[in-house]
Amino acid sequence: MNFPTNAQPNALAQRMEGPSPAVAVARDLARRGVMIAPASIILGAVFWGTNGALSVALGLGIVVVNFLLAAAMLGYAARISLALMAAAALFGFLIRLGLITIAVLLVRNEPWVELVPLGISLIISHLGLLFWEMRFVSASLAFPGLKPPQNERRVIQEPEMSTQDMGTVQQQEQL
């Protein structure tokens, strides 16, 4: 009888339960997006006028919706299976890229759209929000003692294992 010498955990049989950490991160990003929106819109208005302000607001909105959609897809799929979460991450990337393209192409001929501030706001708000969020996440992951203040801290929920998952892990340990 052949026993596997290097038993691999079965990602198909495992899933995450409880609140999704990705959704918590995306909500945090959306909250920060709302916080930076007035300053960004004012900057857009200063350099490109009213159309620039509207375009910057549109870019910021696209970025925030993109984060929320990504987190919702990952969180929903992770409750079913980790393998489905991987599929959701890959196909979600394509779907969201397509949605962003459609959203921009639909409005590009509108008189209130300036493509340059729209593009700049897409890139800068995306990267800026991520770096801002990463500061808090890395602090709470690497140095729990250096967590940000309570009012700015996002609690990372540890997933609870289901009895099915526990059984799977026990079987793997026995192997």
Partner: protein
């Protein structure tokens, strides 16, 4: 003589139009390549990232929350590359 000059003018106009068409086609091709190539790299990166994250979560379910948080941020950072490619595309194509 006037007929010859008219023909010359028409030929020059046709040359200009052909040059504009070629320039527009080259710009469209460049924009398409920029968008398409910029999406390939992040696709590979997200696939690798998610694969490793799923393996980590399967091996250590107790740390799945931390892994998913890091994975989500990694996906978003990788996606920024595709977003930059998209912005280059719209700027090349429509501005």
């Amino acid at each position: 003589m006037s007929t010859l000059s008219q023909l010359a003018a028409l030929a020059a106009e046709a040359d200009t139009t052909a040059a504009d068409d070629a320039k527009n086609a080259a710009a469209a091709q460049g924009a398409g390549y920029a968008y398409g190539l910029a999406a390939i790299g992040p696709g590979i990166g997200i696939g690798y990232l998610v694969g490793q994250a799923v393996q980590a979560m399967a091996r250590q379910p107790e740390s799945a929350g931390q892994v998913q948080t890091t994975m989500f941020l990694g996906i978003a950072f990788t996606e920024a590359l595709a977003l930059i490619g998209f912005v280059v595309f719209i700027l090349l194509k429509f501005v």
